[in-house]
Structures are given as C-alpha cells and as structure tokens.
Amino acid sequence: MEGEEKGRERQALHVSEDLQHMVRGQAVVGLRELIWRRFRRHRLALVSIAIMTVLAFAAIFAPLLSSPNDPYTADLQNLRAPPSQEHILGTDRSGRDMLARILHGGRVSLSVGLIATSIYISIGTILGGVSGYRGGVTDFVIMRITDIVMCFPSLLIILTLVAVIGPSIFNIMIILGFLGWPSIARLVRGEFLSLSERDFVTAARCLGATERGIIFRHILPNVVGPLVVAATFGIAGAIMAEAGLSFLGLGVQAPRPSWGQMLSAATSLTTLERRPWIWMPPGAMIAITVLSINFIGDGLRDALDPRTMLD
C-alpha cells in the first residue's frame, strides 16, 4: 500500500517536472534547442554526425591527406601491391595508391549526393506545392505525370539516359537530380493539402494575407521538417545510385576515382578472391557513408516529428 502511494507521488512529481520542462522548453529554450535535445537522444545519429564530419573533412582535404601519393600516378614497381608502408592500403591494377583514390573518391560521392538531391528537392517542392495548393486539373495532371515517372524502375530510365547523353560525373548529377522528384512532389503535395485546410491558414487568409504570404510564411515553413528528413535519405540514395552506376561502368569514368568504380575491379574473380584490399575498402566506404547518413536521417525524423514535439 505504502509503496503504491509513494509510486503515485513520484509519478505526480514526474509529471510536474515534465510540465516545467515543457514550459521552459517553449518559453526559454526555443524550438531549435528542443530539436537538438531530441536529436541528441539518438546515439547512433550522433555517432554518424561525427563520422560524416570526418568524411567531409577527409574529402575536402584529400590532396593534403594523401600526399605524397596522388590518385592518378601509377607506381609501376607496385602493381596490385598489398598494403605496405609506402602504400597504406595497397595499390590497384595500375599501381595507383588506394588510399589516395579512396580519399578523392569521397569527393565524388559526397558532391554527387548533395547536388543531385538539391536539384530534385527543388523540382519536387515546386511541383508538389503547385499541385497541392492549386488542386483541380493542375493537380490531376501533375500527379499522373508523377505516376508515369514512378512506373519506370528508376535505374532503367537512368541507364537509358546515360546511354543517350553519355556517362560522366556531371551527367550523373543531372540525371539523378531530374528523376528523383516524384516522391518529394507527393510528400509536399500531401503536406500542402492538409496544411491549407488548417485553421491557422484560414485565419491568415481572413486577415488578408496574400497568396504568396500564405504559401511562403504559413505553409512552407511547416513542410521544411519532412523535407529535411526526405533530403537526408535522398542524399544516401543518390550516393548509392552513383556508386551503382559507376560500378556498372555507366557513371564516373576512369581515371577519376569513385568508390563504385573502384569496386568494379572485383568483377574479376581473381581480384575478388585474392586481392581483397582492392575492393573491400571502397565497398566499406560506401556502406559506412550511406549507413551514417541514414542514421542521421532517422535521428532527424525522430527530432522533427511534430506529433511528438513536446515530449
């Protein structure tokens, strides 16, 4: 009995603490702080942020870090050499330093991921916004176009486009950027549809807010949360797609190093069996990068979910 009493008391105390926390959270702490607090709880996401920071720095300072080796010079004395002091991760079939190539490959992966995703987030937001806000025939037409684009397995369209315009890092960015938008358009459209029915939008409209004001000040800021989450997962997806295309020989072309293209050396069964240093590190880099970005996306989703905003 007594224990139960105490438990209830403790619970009451807990609730009041929560309340205080809530009040403080809203009045003093502010939204940004709150989101950061919630994000911090996701341990794996925090670790991933640290990993991605290191990877980003490694990519930016790749030439410094890999000196005296550079990713293009062939060391003809050391073809397919296993890791040694001179070449920490060994060399590839042309005697190029693997570490230097991996560091420079990071530049390709990260920049393709960032640029392609920015392109399709912009397209998707505009189309989805127009579709959800305008409704009617505009909405019907845009959504059917979205359906059509989504019906083609994206890799097949990408293959076709690569065959037409030729493989290169620039073309890959453009192609991935112009094909990724349908899911974003659907997401933004849904948000626009439900938000434009909400009371605060009606209130703003009654107060005489302009259409531009309603879209940019009242609706769009509320879409940013889900968009940031989608963009994070999008970057991971774009990095995977680039790696896959380069792996098939349809992406970044040699001699420019890219992780996917380095991995394609393992299509030779001898390399696959006897020289794991040539294919395992680039594969592991792709896996670590994509995994970290996905964890960050997961952490952001938890932190930005408005339904649990005040817990």
Binding site: P153, L159, L269, F295
Partner: protein, 345 residues
C-alpha cells in the same frame, strides 16, 4: 477520397473529380475507376518510351523493320514510308504504337533479332530470380518483424533494427561481392556464377536451385530489411488500437488476440507493399544478374546499354514499366477487396 486507397482523418479533402467519379461509390466502381485511371498512365509510359526512342541516335521507325528479311533497298524506303518516316512526330507515334500493340518491339541493332523474342527468352529467368528473392524477403522479413514487435526493446529487437539499417544502406552489389567471397571462395558452398553446371550429374532442378540460392538471397536482403521494418511498425501500431484492448478485456487469450486481432489487421497492407516492391526488385536484379552472370532480362539491359542498342533498352523499359503498373493495379485492387476498412466513398 480518391486516387489511392488510404485510411485516416485526412481522407475527406475536397479534390478534383474526373467524370467517371461523379455519382455514388461502390467497390465495383472503385475498381473500375482504378483500372480506367491506369490507361492514361500506360499511354504516358508509351509516350515517354517513344520520346526516348526519338532522342536516341538512330531512328525508331527503321528499327521496326526486320533487317534480316532480305528486302531490296527500294522496298526499305517503301516500308519506311508505310511506317511514317516522313510524317510529323504525333503521327509517327501512333504508327509506332500500332506496331508495339501488335507485339513488334523492333529489332536489335546488334543481334538483328526481334526485341520481343529476346525479352521473351530472358524474362523467365529474371522472374524466377525475382520471385525467389521476394519469397525469401517476405517470409523472413515478416516473421522477424512480428517477433521484433512482440518483443519490443528486447535485445534481438534492437539487433534487428540495426540490421535493417545495414540492409537498406549497403548496396546490393557489395553484398553480392561479399557473398561470393565468403560462400564461394572462403567456404566453397555455392557456385560463383551462371545458371547451370555444364557437366553436372545432379538433376536439373537441384542444379538450378544450387545456382539460384546465393543470387536470390542477396537480391532479397533489401526486401527482408524493408518487410521487417514495415511489419514491426505496423504490428506495434495495431497493438495500440482500442479494439485490441477490448479483445483483451473480453478475456481472450493473448494468443488469440495476437493472431486473430493484431496480425490479421497489421499484415493486410502488406499486399500493397509487395505490389509496390517490383521496381526495386528490378533495380536490384540489374546488379545481381551481372555479378552472378545470371542470363536474365536485367543483365541484357546492361549489356545492351553499353553497346547503345536502343531498341532493346526501350523494349525492356516498356515491358518493365508495364509490369510495374500492372502489379500496382493488382495490389491496389486486392487491397480494397480484402480490407473492409477502406472507404471508396
């Protein structure tokens, strides 16, 4: 509520209603409408394919003429005329569409064989690979997902959650390389590639299975992760519902509640998810077929992309897009039929 079958409070938004929507709503009408709505999409797919065919170097019309038929050059001109080479693009589109509807997907630039025949030869292997992978991922993903949900926050649940992230983050081609490295070289259990052993003494079906296990398992990994995650969250969601509490309050045994109330409701939407998984299966098959030298349609697509054999690429694109559209349609209809909660208001 129009378009896709969805439940929830946001379902009652006013939206544009095409003509076939006005009036009452019944299941039959919903299905009819869903089928009708697929036609513009199918037409759109052909338009996109034709547009690509026109963008590509070479001429889609000439590609429709059998290069092996041994006709005179003058005849070729006449045939081209009949196929509308000098007509405006919209006319050419309809002539092209007519050929496609008759089953003529053109002739390969490289092998000079009809594309439709080439696809028909390769498609069965791809389907075999995809369905094996799909079965592996559904069975494994759903059962592990159910276990994880019923043991939420247990050690295994956390391990599964982590593995889901690995499953969706590690590219299929890296998994494939690791799988060959481990299960063909380090522990020689499975063949590295191919579809059958030339001098095998095993019965053909065993030999085929022996070759199928590794590629199908690798192709299924991403799906396992997806179904695990989906099942787990769906089961957890349903367990919070009032009717589950009611069932428990009625004094039903936990087992009966879980099977009869929770799982029945939580697993229904899987129909849709399975239907929507086709594009990612096709995408994954591209890599798996190349790495395991599996003689399927996806590998043919890659080989012919490198050789810029546009009629083949277009044909494969058209066939797979149609397959995807059809599977989405079936998934949507099956879901509306099996789930009484859906309103087609």
């Amino acid at each position: 509520m129009v378009g896709s079958a969805q439940t929830g409070p946001t379902a009652s938004l006013p939206r544009f209603e095409p003509w076939f929507n006005r009036g009452g709503y019944t299941l039959g009408r919903y299905i009819l409408r869903r089928i009708l709505i697929s036609f513009p999409v199918l037409l759109g797919i052909t338009v996109v394919t034709f547009a690509f065919a026109n963008l590509a170097p070479g001429d889609p019309v000439t590609a429709m003429i059998d290069p092996m038929s041994g006709i005179e050059p003058g005849e070729v001109e006449k045939l081209k005329e009949a196929l509308g080479i000098n007509r405006p693009i919209p006319v050419r589109y309809f002539l092209w569409l007519k050929e496609v509807l008759r089953g003529n997907l053109g002739y390969s630039y490289v092998t000079h064989r009809p594309v439709a025949t080439m696809i028909a030869e390769r498609l069965p292997q791809t389907l075999q690979l995809m369905f094996t992978a799909l079965s592996i991922s559904v069975v494994l993903g759903v059962s592990l997902g159910i276990y994880a949900a019923f043991n939420q926050y247990s050690l295994l649940d956390n391990v599964f959650t982590f593995m889901v992230f690995i499953g969706i983050s590690v590219p299929a081609f890296f998994f494939a390389l690791l799988a060959i490295y481990v299960f063909s070289f380090r522990i020689p259990l499975f063949p590295t590639s191919g579809i059958k052993e030339p001098l095998s003494t095993l019965p053909p079906i065993i030999d085929r299975l022996h070759h199928l296990v590794l590629p199908a398992a690798v192709l299924g990994i991403e799906g396992v992760a997806g179904y695990l995650r989906y099942t787990r969250s769906s089961v957890l969601e349903v367990m919070r519902q009032d009717y589950v509490t009611t069932a428990r309050a009625k004094g039903l045994r936990e087992r009966a509640v879980r099977i009869g109330h929770v799982l029945r409701n939580a697993l229904l939407p899987l129909v849709t998810i399975v239907g929507l998984s086709l594009p990612s299966l096709i995408g994954g098959a591209l890599f798996i077929e190349v790495l395991f030298s599996w003689p399927g349609m996806a590998r043919m697509a890659i080989e012919h992309t490198l050789g810029r054999d546009y009629p083949v690429i277009m044909g494969i694109g058209l066939v797979s897009a149609t397959m995807v559209l059809f599977s989405n349609l079936v998934a949507d209809i099956v879901y509306t039929v099996v789930d009484p909660r859906i309103s087609y208001e």
